[in-house]
């Protein structure tokens, strides 16, 4: 695939186009993903999440600057929400990412959620891999303005930085139960505002109470650092950078990094199996003619949905064993997997 060659060669247009194909679920995307995979797994990944307007983009700009200064090539994935009403989106994170804007060793891509929940876009993981394969050895992911449910970034980021700001009041309580739990490092940004010190104290207390030298990715021995920053003036940015790098070293030296990577890859394969088998079973059910009949029974309330699904899956598996399901079910699933189903 010529596009892959160009991408691996560092051609920025090719990289940009590859990201578009991936986002659009173009049929060529599966082949692309397969071809770049051997060239991935090298990039150091970071996530930056936190409430809307907390200063995430400004912090990403500062971090980009510091990683560049230590000789790294930085890819940024910045996600903003798609309007549920129009399907359109205004992607404004670049406004605050000025310093890397004309640097050939920085690549910033804005993505819209396109209906995906969790604070990211559907294909964030694949886009990170494309940047990785194109030679960006540091990839920073900015989530949409997030609160409780938007915790998916921890799947792709070795280090997750949660950004908090003074003056949110009761919101801290809500966030405590959500994104704070995924923090490897906490930035108290807008520390030029009143209340920063008391927020730091409050967060540190919470972390102690919550036993947040947790198991999970960071392991038992990691204490989540709380770092004060003023992203607009770079105050505290060196400390934040150092804390993030210390976390990475901690992961690497305890073996948690490899363990986490393996877990995430396993989870990805599991998710794909679920999708593929689901699609194949569905396609089989629809072509085998059992679909209308079963649905009619469900519609008439003679059969409940769970029993209907159980029955169809059992029949599908029986056909699969005898070899007759493959032909019927190969279509849509084959497209997604790039034909790896057989």
């Amino acid at each position: 695939m010529e596009l892959v060659e160009r991408l691996l060669d560092g051609d920025r247009r090719a990289l940009a186009r590859a990201i578009t194909l991936t986002e659009n679920e173009d049929p060529r995307a599966a082949e692309l993903a397969r071809a770049v995979f051997p060239h991935t797994g090298r990039a150091r990944t970071l996530g930056v999440t936190g409430p809307p307007g907390a200063g995430k983009s400004t912090l990403v700009d500062g971090l980009t600057h510091l990683y560049r200064r230590s000789g790294r090539r930085v890819g940024v994935v910045a996600v903003d929400p798609t309007s549920p009403f129009t399907g359109g989106a205004i992607l404004g994170d670049r406004i605050r990412m000025r310093r890397g804007a004309a640097d050939p060793d920085v690549f910033i891509r804005s993505l819209a959620t396109r209906g995906h929940l969790g604070g990211l876009s559907w294909h964030t993981g694949s886009v990170v891999r494309l940047l990785d394969a194109a030679g960006f050895d540091t990839v920073i992911i900015e989530t949409v303005g997030a609160g409780q449910a938007e915790v998916e970034v921890m799947r792709y980021a070795e280090t997750t930085i949660v950004v908090m700001v003074p003056g949110l009041g009761d919101e801290v309580q809500a966030i405590k139960a959500g994104i704070l739990e995924i923090a490897d490092v906490i930035a108290v940004n807008k520390a030029d505002r009143e209340g920063a010190d008391s927020l730091v104290r409050e967060l540190e207390m919470m972390l102690e109470l919550g036993g947040r030298s947790r198991g999970g990715r960071s392991g038992e021995a990691w204490t989540v650092p709380v770092v004060k920053t003023v992203a607009t003036t770079d105050e505290g940015m060196e400390d934040l950078f150092a804390a993030a790098e210390r976390h990475r070293e901690h992961l690497a030296s305890t073996g948690e990094l490899e363990a986490w990577r393996t877990r995430e890859l396993a989870a990805e394969v599991t998710g794909l199996i679920r999708d593929l088998v689901g699609q194949k079973a569905q396609a089989w059910a629809e072509t085998a003619g059992a679909w209308e009949e079963t649905l009619a029974q469900v519609a008439a309330r003679r059969m409940d949905p769970r029993t209907a699904a159980d029955t169809l899956v059992a029949e599908f598996l029986a056909c699969a064993r005898s070899g007759s399901a493959e032909a019927a079910g190969g279509g849509p699933a084959g497209e997604i997997s790039g034909g790896s189903g057989r």
């Binding site: 247009r13 173009d26 309007s83 129009t86 359109g88 804007a101 004309a102």
Partner: protein, 136 residues
């Protein structure tokens, strides 16, 4: 790329410090279901074209109030060509005297919209340009 969304870069080159108009156009594109990358004030032509490449946009819409359009538009068009990105539709809006329009079109602007332009017209013109590009 049938499943794709139209992506538009709305950019403000030059020194003028008003971006109300640019924001209004950005919202109109969003309301038409497009993904709009907005990059804020004071962008150089180099930054704009680099952003257009990274974001793989279909359209670059420049908003210029400063009067520097005769320099900025040809420069952006030239840089797009240099990157092999002349397939991107280039549009210009802002305070543009009628007599400057032909030169801007000559330089590579597919459309030029003056102060009184209707938002629906801008959006439908953009869609028409993209359709023409797709079929050619």
């Amino acid at each position: 790329m049938t499943r794709g969304k139209v992506r538009v870069l709305v950019a403000k080159p030059g020194l003028d410090s008003h971006d109300r108009g640019a924001k209004v156009v950005a919202r109109a594109y969003r309301d038409a279901g497009m993904e709009v990358i907005y990059t804020g004030l004071h962008q150089t032509p180099e930054q704009i074209v680099e952003a257009a490449v990274q974001e793989d946009v279909d359209v670059v819409a420049l908003s210029i109030l400063s009067g520097a359009h005769s320099v900025l538009v040809p420069r952006v068009a030239e840089l797009l060509r240099a990157r092999g990105a002349e397939d991107i539709v280039l549009l210009v809006g802002g305070i543009i005297p009628e007599e400057d329009v032909p030169a801007l079109r000559e330089a590579g602007a597919a459309g030029v919209f003056g102060p009184g332009s209707d938002l629906d017209e801008i959006v439908s013109f953009t869609v028409a340009c993209l359709e023409r590009r797709r079929s050619s």
